[in-house]
Point group: C2
Chain length 602, copies 2
């Protein structure tokens, strides 16, 4: 039976000591997020995840969701009751606007809570996660009437939400989509078509399901400029706002898939379903994109979440499993063998995951703060800088945290040897579940293209320049500090590689875009390493600060934790960051050998 | 429904043009392996894999093996009939000694056929694969009586074999094993204990199952020096050699696992089962090790096999799936979108897998030739050099071909986007099945330790020196050849990194073995890249040779294939080989940050 403990202390270190969120107490919601409240909220969320959701993770995988002949879907045993507890705890709406019943706390709180939920039970966490995405879309694009009709119920968790984008013949290339919307005299639309891969498309957790659907209005242009966004509830609303008649949409089948069996992945059939336009006609993709950053950040968080829970279980096993003796002589002489955590290759593996996770969590919080400043910032300049940060870092976080998050679950599974392959230990489920995060919400190759093709050149490279300036500023600020040398020196080198790669793209990819395409994934990962390296430099500085002021930090083994931060950061610099050299070499080798073969030579 | 086509032409290129196996026609078995016979055998094997085994792969995954209350196990629908065809084709014994009914062909033929079998159906291929391992053990350690009793039936495929090593509390550290053997007056032993993870431990494919079992004779020393190897058949043999009374051993349960569901992974209970000693008392581990090289080479082949079949399906999908337009303008203007193979990031992915697979296959054949020379070589010196090669390269092939083979199945799955997560495409099964290869037959961390701790220093580094000398000799030989520069120059650089890492170990790991342990996995992968790079250099030279002599090579699109080799080799040099720089940096950073934390700081 897998274990999990929510990393509340680590989150507090990041909020209080690294990012000093008390600086933002002038912003709406932040004043409420005092250190005490944060501790209480995260502690409560952690308990719910550890005690309620984690025990449902394996049974959810084994049972899966079941579709009956009438198209109704039953979630695994225990999900319904757990969802009720989630709703009662108000977890779905902790960052939602108070005017619709939310608690208005910063979005960074939601990202932290979602990490805990996803670690404990990814399949389950997707139900509220998708609802939060739909809530964001309705806030951004709904009329007052639509907002009033749907938001309070969704924020309360009485109703859930979905996103309907993909069709059998199109996922990435939404310009090909065929679902039709026919305008009705009353201003509503009749939607007809088939959508696939609709997570939480049908289930038994909520009284209504609010579908957001991309479709093409009759007569609209072909391609991406003819797509509109609609809201179509499972049950049409009565005059009093309660769910009434069944809408003409249903779950045609459930996909049989590799993992996340506890989440219903539906084929959704729209047979003249009634829907209402969200935002402007033919601007549906634009409407989708406005909320895509947060959704993608959320998937990056899922990658981290899987890496974290897999890591915790690998550590647990490595301390318990006795096998062989340390290379430097027996450590547990009273036992028949040493725990495998004495072995350097086991430790290297654990440190690899640990040093990634802690920096990834920092990167998420740093970016979640930007998402809050983007919405709540007091000045246009602050909002713009935050929006730049979000736009630039989102594909990096989505791509890198899920690629590496998955790779880390595989590493953690490997610590178990053959036992990792056996279902009862739960490690193989983490691997299967984590795998989806690299694919959905834009496959990671698309994230890399978004970064290189869209985000780098945007606004004359303003976002990128700001990122470089911030990291370089930090390096310069610490350049005289000998204790910081093991962190800022390698970071400077890696950042130099990133700048060289960027310049290489500028010089070589304008006329030959294949040179950018062939280097995009390496560039995304290089960017990720630099961003994570910067997080480590900031965490190291914060840890050193805390260690200097021992009185303040004395309690609860904080000293040992801060020393561990310094060691783990060094490990990251020595063992993960050097990859940027190889990435630079690959990028600057160009696209020639990548593009030369004819299709039939593959 | 996944596709598969056995890479017969690629194998022929390697045998005929790269390794010139006709040079060995003076050796037993090689004279029979004429190019025509090789083509016929591989073609026949390929057909069997494509037409019989591949269609059973998904159903085998879905149905799995079933254990009845009496301990009997049923394999998935179709396996029994397919096994019958395998037996009728004589595939199990193609390289086995003719004196026991084998065909005596070189072992390299078995490795090639096993690649095809594993690509088409890994779960199925394990049944004959384990039998071949048991055959090798019986040949090496059986008395004449035991050989006569078991080998003809096993080589014919009437009976299958297993290896029983692991126990619940010990896998890597076999010194802890507890299974007991009590000597009987008639010279047999009564074996008592529990073994886990026993692949093909019980099934319905054969009339008898011959178990090789590690156990401790009563009174034997503790640890690894008190372990003996036994043979214990499921059915004891009658006087006429036919299966008679049931032995006191049985399958207690089947493991529920991530993949290879078509193979029965058994808990085996030995309740005073009758067995006979193989080899000397207390020398069981030694006896196991003598056949471990070939078994591990075989698992490396499985890693390649999964990478190959996943690649073929990804290519197929990339040519068919229409999504988006090429960065350089529409390519398939008559279609609503271009096939995704036009996109650089898709190609980069496919080329990554292709450039790995083709070199991996060469590395397998190169090493399989060594295994043949080791057994059949005419001079002691040849046999010794071949044995050195086998010992050195086996952990590299096992570790690197399975780590990267798995990573490649994940890359191939990623090409399908969300569709890759859905069971019907088969990609997710390839990922789940491939995952086991990194764990069994010695988890890959153990392979790395074996390489660094045992194989490098063995005989004063003789094997390593020979490897360096061969690669350097080749580079020198080609140094004046301009056409070979894109291959030998990067290879020389990578080899330099490997030599630096080796010297760093010599200087820093003698007194501090943790420095070797913390760098072992990187070193193994670095070694793999150099060995694969060397294979590419030799393949490039062979391809250039063939292109010069166009008359000889003209048929069957050989020119396009040889040109593809040259491009693919360049891709390998530009995109995969640069990793050695990062590996060197990681290794030479030493073990300090890896080892510093206390266990409770993880």
């Amino acid at each position: 039976m897998p274990i999990y403990k929510a990393p509340v202390e680590d989150a507090q270190f990041l909020l209080n000591d690294v990012f000093h969120v008390e600086r933002y107490s002038n912003l709406p919601g932040f004043a409420d997020a005092t250190p005490d409240l944060v501790e209480a909220v995260l502690g409560e969320a952690g308990k719910f995840c550890e005690q309620v959701l984690l025990p449902l993770n394996r049974t959810g995988d084994q049972e899966g969701c079941k579709r009956a002949a009438d198209g109704s879907v039953t979630t695994p045993t225990g999900f319904k009751d757990a969802f009720k507890q989630l709703v009662e705890g108000g977890w779905i709406g902790i960052s939602a606007p108070p005017e619709f019943g939310g608690q208005g706390l910063p979005m960074l709180m939601t990202q932290l809570v979602n990490e805990f939920l996803s670690s404990a039970n990814l399949s389950f966490a997707m139900y509220p996660g998708l609802t939060q995405g739909a809530i964001a879309a309705l806030i951004a694009h709904g009329t007052d009437q639509i907002k009033a009709a749907y938001l309070p119920k969704m924020i309360a968790g009485e109703w859930t939400g979905t996103m309907n984008l993909t069709e059998p013949h199109c996922g990435t290339d939404l310009g090909l989509l065929r679902t039709k919307a026919a305008k009705q005299p009353d201003g509503s639309y009749k939607i007809t078509g088939t959508k696939i891969f609709i997570s939480a498309g049908e289930h038994d957790l909520a009284a209504n399901i609010i579908h957001l659907v991309l479709a093409r209005i009759e007569g609209a242009p072909e391609g991406t400029r003819g797509i509109s966004l609609f809201v179509a509830p499972k049950f049409l609303l009565n005059g009093d706002g309660s769910p009434g008649a069944r809408n003409a949409l249903s779950c045609g089948s459930l996909e049989e898939k590799m993992g996340i069996h506890g989440n219903a992945t539906c084929v959704m059939n729209y047979d003249g379903a009634t829907g209402w336009l969200l935002g402007d006609e033919n601007r549906g993709l634009h409407a989708m994109f406005t909320m895509m950053n947060e959704a993608r950040l959320g998937v990056g968080v899922q990658g981290l979440a899987m890496s974290e829970v897999a890591y915790q279980n690998a550590v647990n096993y490595a301390k318990e499993r006795l096998q062989g003796r340390a290379l430097t002589g027996a450590k547990a002489k009273d036992k028949p063998a040493d725990p495998i955590i004495v072995h350097p290759d086991v430790r290297r593996t654990l440190m690899t995951i640990k040093s990634f996770n802690e920096a990834a969590r920092a990167l998420v919080i740093w970016t979640a703060i930007a998402s809050d400043l983007d919405r709540r910032g007091t000045h246009e300049k602050i909002r713009q800088a935050a929006d730049d940060h979000m736009g630039l870092l989102t594909p990096v976080i989505k791509g890198v945290l899920t690629d590496q998050g998955f790779a880390n679950t595989v590493l953690a599974q490997q610590m178990f040897g053959g036992h990792g392959y056996i279902a009862e230990h739960g490690m193989e489920q983490f691997v299967r579940d984590a795998r989806i995060t690299m694919m959905y919400e834009g496959a990671n190759g698309i994230q890399a293209l978004d970064l290189v093709g869209r985000k780098l050149p945007k606004d004359g490279g303003r976002a990128l320049q700001a990122f470089f300036a911030e990291v370089q500023g930090f390096i310069k600020e610490k350049s005289a500090d000998a204790a910081m040398k093991p962190y800022v020196e390698p970071l400077g080198k890696a950042l130099g590689h990133l700048q060289q790669a960027t310049m290489w793209f500028m010089a070589n990819a304008m006329g030959k875009p294949d040179n950018a395409g062939a280097g995009s994934t390496d560039y995304m990962h290089m960017f990720g390493l630099c961003a994570l390296g910067y997080m480590w430099a900031r965490m190291a500085a914060a840890a050193q600060e805390k260690l200097k002021d021992k009185l303040k930090s004395g309690a609860n083994g904080a000293e040992a934790r801060m020393n561990a931060k310094l060691v783990t950061g060094r490990f990251f610099m020595e063992r993960l960051l050097p990859e940027t050299a190889a990435q630079l070499a690959r990028i600057t080798s160009g696209a020639a050998s990548t593009m030369e073969l004819a299709a039939e030579q593959f």
